[in-house]
């Protein structure tokens, strides 16, 4: 048998050509190019089968359907679920209609969103906040009453603040696809829909905590972390442990030398690629539980990286090892500054690599 390699197809997005395998979606092709060419996504989540198509944040214009049939598509299409064709020409940030529509989508998503970012744990790592900042307007035209819900605990670890939910369905797909028994879902209809267990039921299984990571907003939050800190005060490091349940590969979030949160690792599109168990997430809150690998790569534009890592001072290769050593030794006096912006200066990296993974005293 001959090896049959799939013929790559060529697609042009915002004037940049990229070659991808047939069946790739426009959004994935655009992500391959990267940067602003990648449309925003509020509901699509690559690791979750069936996700996408709902929020309409990623709508793009297809100026030419394919080389064979170069007619434009009549409506904007959801790039996360539309496969590319050879010779397709797509306009994302270069198209006025796309940008106007995106602005409208921000507005729609925000009319029933509480705008309580100052007290929301998700602030600073919120997809909706980023989306609104990048594509929205600074004002609102909405004068009507907003829908509100009571906060609910769904199990010992997770709080559901439905008022913030944008109904992306990611948590539902997560529960469907990585747990044996889903107990929460979308109930009701239209703008009265809500994520709920209907009758009080604890979401209780080894992987339930992952719904927190996939939530694009602060609707599902980690009760062990609630109101403990703001993400921009904290320092994420990649870490792992030998876990019998999951891969044990996590991001461990420090404030000073205290582990205040554990999450799954996210890629540059803010997607978890390996889900983690609740033991790793909620119960391993000591540095001694973890083998620290090094600082988590955070986008430079994120508030989390604000003034933390000075790439100009640290050589990339050296950085990982060095950070592994330092994070157990950081004192965090400067975190209490008014702005909370901390600076990790070179002198704080003590050259004590051999003891990097020693248990805490």
């Amino acid at each position: 048998m001959e090896d049959i390699k799939p013929q790559l197809v060529k697609v042009t997005i915002d004037g940049i050509e990229v070659e991808v395998e047939p069946g790739t979606t426009i959004l994935q092709a655009a992500r391959k190019i990267g940067g602003n060419v990648a449309p925003p996504a509020m509901c699509y989540y690559q690791p979750l089968k069936g996700s996408g198509g709902k929020c309409r944040a990623c709508l793009v214009r297809v100026a030419a359907g394919s080389a064979k049939d170069p007619r434009p598509m009549p409506k904007l299409v959801a790039s996360c679920i539309t496969p590319v064709q050879d010779g397709m020409i797509v306009e994302n940030s270069t198209n006025e209609q796309v940008l106007t529509t995106r602005k409208a989508i921000v507005e729609f998503l925000l009319i029933n969103h509480p705008l309580d970012c100052p007290v929301c744990d998700q602030a600073g790592e919120c997809d909706l906040q980023n989306f609104a900042f990048n594509h929205g307007m600074a004002t609102t035209r909405y004068e009507e009453e907003r829908r509100t819900f009571e906060k609910k605990d769904i199990g010992p670890y997770i709080q559901l603040h439905m008022t913030r939910c944008i109904l992306c369905y990611r948590c539902v797909y997560t529960a469907d696809q990585i747990t044996q028994k889903r107990v929460h879902g979308v109930l009701g209809r239209g703008d009265a829909s809500e994520i709920s267990t209907y009758i009080e039921k604890a979401v209780d299984n080894d992987f339930s905590g992952n719904v927190i990571d996939v939530c694009p907003v602060g609707a599902l939050t980690d009760k062990t972390y609630r109101f403990k800190n703001r993400v921009w005060f904290t320092k994420p490091v990649d870490a792992h442990r030998d876990c019998p349940t999951c891969s044990g590969k996590t991001t461990v979030w420090y404030r000073g030398d205290e582990v205040i949160r554990v999450t799954a690792r996210k890629n540059e599109w803010n997607e978890v690629t390996e889900f983690i168990c609740n033991t790793c997430r909620f119960e391993k809150k000591k540095t001694s539980d973890w083998v620290i690998e090094g600082p988590t790569k955070i986008s430079r534009s994120s508030v989390i990286s604000a003034n933390k890592y000075r790439g100009d001072l640290i050589k990339p290769d050296f950085q990982r090892k060095l950070a592994a050593a330092t994070y157990t030794h950081v004192d965090d006096e400067r975190d209490t500054s008014q702005l909370g912006i901390q600076q990790l200066t070179p002198e704080r990296f003590a050259p004590v690599l051999p003891h990097a993974n020693d248990p805490e005293p």
Binding site: C55, A57, K75, L76, E107, F108, G190, D191, S193
Partner: protein
């Protein structure tokens, strides 16, 4: 223009029973198709007939059938959309209740054409009594050998299942209907894939409206060409029109496509004109989702020619001066009707019926309803009018399914044609909120 295809025997006593229906020539189409025609031959006749989907979208039925994928070893399904819920439309209800066998016969012929061995009729749950009528009719047809195993000794098997909905307009959208039929929430699917490739249970599926499927028997008996000869051009055949509102004779009428709107509205054969002492103010020609037109635009085209009851003529002028045939829900408003109140009412309907899956529809329909509610109740401001137009524009075309468009059009068209009435509500809140108050400004009444 009295050609009757579907309602020819409607007044025959007992036509709801198998025996009477059979005596009137019922089930001859099944015999003809199964004994003398190939499935492809049946598809060909329906294509020739040019019958367009009667549920509202107007997509040619034969073409839809020919798109059906036919992979080996995978079952194919025919699903009849009897989830009739569009405000102003009640023709399928009428047809199924009165001549259930016409739909059953159409289902058998259509299923045979598509190679389906299990076909479904999805009826809105509110019509439980109609479901019982259909189930009785199916049992009769089965007893007569037209359903079940080895129909008429041909080796062709068919089982017909009537499936109740649960109260959701959105399930009239074909992919939401399929989700619902699978026992799920009626959330429309993203397309592609289309049902013709991946439909019910991920198998190739055709979804057709009741009225569309009911035409199949006549087409097989008389030939596709004979059907195409009725009507005008691409609007071939007859159409059931559900007439309601301020007319003398509300009801369901079968018309040959091409009847002038004016004639349909005023002739004693049909609506019988506006109720005594009143005048036509506005009209919704194709169910609540199509644009509302004022009296002066509905009966005549821009060039002065009469507007006809066809897909093309009703949409003449685009959304500026035209509307759509839609599902044939013909709602007539006289001068006592308040367009603002009606627009709010329709808007509330779409808000209530939005599935909530995609953000423009979920959030936008509620927004429009709330603003319209304010205007209607005397709390509007002038900029609300432009806001409504803008929100409608932002919903339209950006949603997973056409419910977004259906919610946007009535609002946008009402403001386009009756803006002064909206303004009056805002400038005269005390007057406008009196019970039964209606704008009496300059208006073209006919």
């Amino acid at each position: 223009m009295g050609k009757k295809i579907l309602l020819e025997h409607i007044n025959v006593p007992g036509i709801e029973t198998y025996d009477v229906y059979r005596k009137q020539g019922g089930y001859t189409a099944v015999e003809k198709a199964i004994k003398t025609m190939s499935p492809e031959g049946v598809v060909e006749e329906v294509k020739k007939a040019g019958v367009r989907g009667r549920g509202g979208a107007g997509f040619p039925m034969g073409m839809k059938w020919s798109f059906l994928a036919k992979p080996e070893g995978v079952p194919r399904y025919l699903v009849c959309n009897a989830d009739e819920s569009e405000p102003g439309t009640f023709k399928d209800h009428y047809l199924m209740k009165n001549i259930p066998h016409l739909l059953i016969e159409g289902m058998i012929v259509s299923s045979y054409a598509l190679g389906a061995n299990k076909s479904f009729i999805y009826v809105r749950g509110e019509l439980m009594y109609v479901i019982r009528i259909l189930e009785k009719a199916i049992a009769e047809a089965k007893a007569a050998g037209f359903l079940g195993k080895n129909i008429l000794g041909s080796g062709y098997d068919l089982e017909l299942i009537v499936h109740p909905g649960g109260g959701a307009y959105i399930c009239g959208e074909e992919t939401a209907l399929l989700e619902s039929l699978e026992g799920k929430r009626g959330n429309p699917r993203n397309k592609p894939p289309f049902p013709a490739v991946k439909g019910l249970y991920q198998c190739p599926t055709v979804v057709n409206n009741v009225e569309s499927i009911a035409t199949a028997a006549w087409i097989i008996n008389n030939g596709g060409d004979a059907y195409a000869a009725i009507g005008i051009g691409r609007s071939s055949g007859t159409k059931l029109i559900s007439a309601s509102g301020h007319i003398k004779k509300p009801g369901v009428y079968e018309i040959e496509l091409g009847v002038p709107v004016e004639e349909f509205l005023y002739s004693d054969e049909w609506c019988g004109g506006i109720r005594d002492g009143h005048h036509l103010k506005a009209l919704v020609a194709g169910g609540s989702s199509v644009p509302i037109l004022p009296a002066n635009l509905i009966t005549k085209l821009a060039n002065g020619e009469p507007r006809l009851m066809t897909y093309e003529s009703l949409s003449d002028g685009g959304f500026q001066t035209g509307t759509m045939l839609g599902s044939g829900g013909f709602i007539v408003f006289d001068e006592t009707a308040c367009v603002v109140r009606n627009t709010w009412n329709f808007s509330r309907f779409y808000h209530h019926e939005s599935c909530g899956q995609c953000s423009p529809c979920r959030e936008g329909t509620g927004w429009m309803e709330k603003v319209l509610h304010r205007i209607e109740h005397g709390h509007g401001s002038m900029h609300d009018i432009d806001l409504l137009v803008d929100v409608a524009k932002k919903i339209e075309g950006n949603t997973i399914c056409p419910l977004g468009d259906a919610a946007a059009w009535p609002v946008a068209s009402a403001i386009r044609h009756f803006r002064d009435e909206f303004e009056w509500h805002i400038t005269h809140p005390a007057e406008a909120t009196q019970p039964g108050a209606v704008f009496k400004g300059e208006m073209a009444l006919v």
